[in-house]
């Protein structure tokens, strides 16, 4: 993402320090991760110390300081899904992708995250890939579902 775009987003929020999180959310959504240079630019324009921005970027789960894979895999670990066996689904996905939650594989194909309730409890256990819900999924079915993604 080029610096002009970053500046545009910051200006849209009136360059207010309290809008820091909203600015970061927008950049994360468009750029899919937060490179160091962008954090430094935000620090400069909003007049907020870089260490504070780093704290925020690492405190909140929505932000990623490393590039994300082409496909974001989310496994719901909410209580309802948990009692319906979400842990086994997660283990199966970890085995297939070779990564743990919070990680991205070396091909930048999959990024894996656990989420705490997608609110589709009637479909538990749930695996979400790129926003698409795979409901009532069993551990054995996860490999087949993920094979379809390039």
């Amino acid at each position: 993402m080029d610096i002009e775009k970053v500046d545009q987003i910051i200006d849209k929020h009136n360059s207010e320090a309290s809008s820091l999180i909203q600015v970061l959310l927008e950049i994360q959504s468009e750029n899919r991760w937060l490179p160091r240079q962008i954090l430094e630019r935000i620090s400069e324009k909003l007049e907020v110390p870089l260490s504070r921005i780093q704290h925020i970027a690492t405190f909140y789960k929505a932000f990623s300081l490393i590039p994300k894979g082409r496909h974001e895999v989310h496994i719901c670990m909410g209580t309802a899904c948990h009692v319906r066996g979400a842990q086994n689904v997660l283990t199966a996905v970890e085995d297939y992708t070779g990564i743990k939650p919070g990680e991205t594989d070396l091909d930048l194909k999959f990024s894996l995250e656990t989420v705490n309730c997608l609110g589709c409890c009637a479909l538990g256990p749930v695996m979400e890939v790129d926003g698409q819900i795979h409901g009532k999924i069993s551990p054995a079915e996860t490999a087949d579902a993920l094979k379809k993604y390039e």
Binding site: I21, I56, K61, A62, G78, T79, G119, C120, A122, V126
Partner: protein, 642 residues
């Protein structure tokens, strides 16, 4: 749309809207909340548009995409008006016949109706389905009639009448008094009387004050607020504006978790519409009151649902809570008097102003008035969102409304209050739901998550699960939570993995006590609750894990083993083919045997073994029966008669 400047103008507009609506008008409502999107309501919506076009009915039938209806287990749901015919679990393939048969020829399609599992009776109308009949949907009922993107739908139901009444017929003190008299207690978890909270801010000698909607809804398994915000955003705005009026706030914030994009979208649309019509902005409805609202998104931190952490996040910082010695209704956001309330709390306000405190007090118990929306999920038959009056028993909610435990299993516990709450066992099922009643029993109301658990749920693992969640979500500032809860998790993990020791329970209790006594915020203070309540009601499970190295629910992987009963196995090879670790030895007519060395206990074989055989067994606390010798594993035809 010119701004409305008086109550008279509002009522005139309302009359116009209503006169343009024909009660005999054919309407198809399709539940389009996020949960139904997951079950495919988008493609159903597309099919409806296509079919109506095809059959030339586009101009005669109104399609209304509403928010959540609540019966998520059976979504997508269609309700046809004016009759109120309810069809469940609709797929795009069902649409052509719905249009040709029901819409064109008034014929009811029985195979799409709800069938009562006990009487086999087919039920036509939505409000006669037991799931809905046993509820009291004061708040949620409106979702069926409203397209969240249409302010006119909200106005048609009487929307913004309460705001007009408060601003133009009551002074701020009177409006506050009404909410106080109604004894509306916070629906976010704390249960603090809203009127008293508001009063504190109202009398604070500051010019700048704020109101906040807490739509962070972090409790896993709870999605009531999402459905209210998605399905009826104006009700929340109206309540917020009334609250702001009573305390003298001119700015409001809605803090929505970022994981709710549809809710963010719908509330933003609603705000724009409200501004257009003059329900927000300068001199609302011609009064002296001016009020604006901004939406802030969360960024993935459960702790930001805690009110002081939320305010810190609104200020653009990491969501670390602050000490509550000076209450935030006196010194809150930017140190100004701030009233923060939950989505459901705000949504109750217009009802109270419209109908009066006395009406509200008719519902509920002595100390818990009104209704509560619960997300009834887990091992339950009728998964969904239910709104019941306070005072209904847990038994009625779970069995009458919820339809009981799914899969014919036995009820074991119900968990309420999310990670701050506890598990209540069978002998407490007749407990009446209410703030104080649940707290006394060792749990709490919380935001409304209600998770049903059955005989296959390991209660020690439930405690471990919640501590795992909280360790991940802890902000890390104070020692009792950052270090103490983490140590509790370590001990519980050891217990579930067969490394429990004497003294573990005592150490857990000690750590839990310190966390309760001196943690910085409610996350740490309530963290021990799931452990303490499961210890209180299911102590035998803990002892089985620690001394017996046994998991009675047959769940904890390190304490169980899978084996195939040679008497039941029919060598169908279903498990053999699906086993991801190639751990099953056998063949077409050879009884299968699980290689214990290779087995990862993924549960796949248990899942896929046909129920008529049920040959895969789980065992805990004792050695796996030795496999029968190879020579005896061959099945000859006819030798296995059942």
């Amino acid at each position: 749309m010119p701004k409305l400047n008086s109550s008279a103008e509002l009522e005139k507009l309302r009359d116009e809207i209503l006169s343009n609506r024909d009660s005999d008008q054919r309407i198809i409502t399709l539940c389009s909340g996020t949960a139904c999107h997951a079950t495919g309501s988008r493609s159903v919506a597309a099919a409806i548009e296509e079919e109506l076009e095809k059959q030339g009915l586009k101009d005669q039938v109104i399609v209304r995409k509403t928010g959540c209806h609540g019966f998520c287990e059976r979504g997508p749901i269609i309700v046809l008006y004016p009759e109120g015919i309810c069809y469940l679990q609709i797929e795009p393939e069902n649409i052509p016949e719905i249009v040709s048969q029901t819409i064109k020829e008034n014929k009811i399609l029985e195979h799409l109706l709800y069938i009562d599992p006990s009487s086999d009776e087919k039920i036509t109308r939505e409000d006669e389905i037991p799931f809905y009949k046993n509820q009291q949907r004061l708040l949620f009922g409106a979702n069926l009639q409203i397209d969240p993107k249409s302010i006119e739908d909200y106005l048609a139901l009487g929307g913004y009448k309460a705001l007009a009444r408060a601003l133009l017929k009551m002074d701020p003190g009177q409006a506050l008094e009404e909410v106080k008299k109604a004894n509306l207690r916070g629906r976010g978890g704390g249960g603090f009387p809203a009127g008293i909270k508001w009063e504190g801010s109202r009398s604070a000698p500051e010019d700048t004050k704020y109101v906040i909607v807490n739509a962070d809804e972090g409790d896993p398994g709870a999605y009531m607020d999402r459905s209210l915000l998605e399905g009826n955003p104006h009700s929340v705005l109206e309540g917020l504006a009334i609250g702001a009026y009573t305390i003298g706030a001119r700015e409001g914030f809605i803090y929505v978790r970022q994981e709710y994009p549809l809710a963010v979208d719908n509330i933003n649309t609603a705000i724009k519409q409200a501004e257009e019509y003059g329900f927000l902005g300068e001199n609302i409805l011609g009064s002296d009151f001016s009020f604006t609202v901004k939406v802030h998104q969360g960024a993935g931190a459960f702790v930001c649902g805690e009110s002081t952490a939320l305010m810190t996040a609104l200020e653009g910082r990491a969501g670390e809570p602050r000490p509550k010695y000076i209450r935030s209704n006196i010194k809150g956001l930017w140190d100004k008097p701030t009233v923060l309330n939950n989505v459901e709390t705000w949504a109750n306000v217009p009802l109270i102003i419209n109908n009066g405190a006395e009406w509200f007090e008719k519902y509920g118990t002595e100390t818990s008035k009104g209704t509560k929306i619960f997300s009834l999920v887990g091992k339950i038959n009728n998964t969904g969102l239910v709104e019941v009056p306070m005072g209904m028993t847990l038994r009625d909610i779970i069995f009458k409304v919820g339809g009981g435990i799914r899969g014919g299993k036995k009820f074991k516990a119900v968990q309420t209050g999310g990670p701050s709450g506890g598990c209540l066992p069978e002998h407490l099922l007749d407990l009446q739901v209410g703030f104080d009643e649940l707290t006394k029993a060792g749990s709490m109301m919380g935001s409304g998550g209600m998770i049903a658990m059955d005989e296959d749920t390991c209660m020690v693992d439930v405690a471990r699960y919640f501590l795992d969640f909280l360790t991940d979500e802890s902000c890390g500032k104070c020692v009792p939570c950052r270090e103490g809860v983490k140590q509790m998790l370590k001990i519980l993990t050891n217990i579930t993995e067969g490394r429990g020791q004497e003294g573990d329970l005592e150490l857990l209790e000690e750590l839990g006590q310190v966390a309760k006594e001196v943690s910085l915020c409610a996350l740490g203070q309530t963290a021990p609750n799931p452990f303490l309540s499961t210890l209180q009601y299911f102590r035998d499970e803990y002892e089985a894990h620690i001394s017996g190295k046994r998991c009675p629910a047959l769940y904890c992987k390190d304490l169980i083993a899978y084996y195939i009963d040679p008497e039941e196995c029919q060598a169908c090879q279903a498990c053999l083919k699906k086993c991801p670790s190639d751990a099953i030895i056998g063949g077409k007519k050879t009884i299968h045997v699980i290689d214990q060395e290779k087995c990862t206990k993924c549960n796949t074989c248990y899942d896929v073994c046909p129920s008529r055989f049920s040959a895969v067994k789980k065992i805990s606390g004792e050695p796996v029966p030795p496999a029968i010798p190879e020579e005896e594993r061959t099945i000859t035809r006819g030798s296995k008669e059942k």
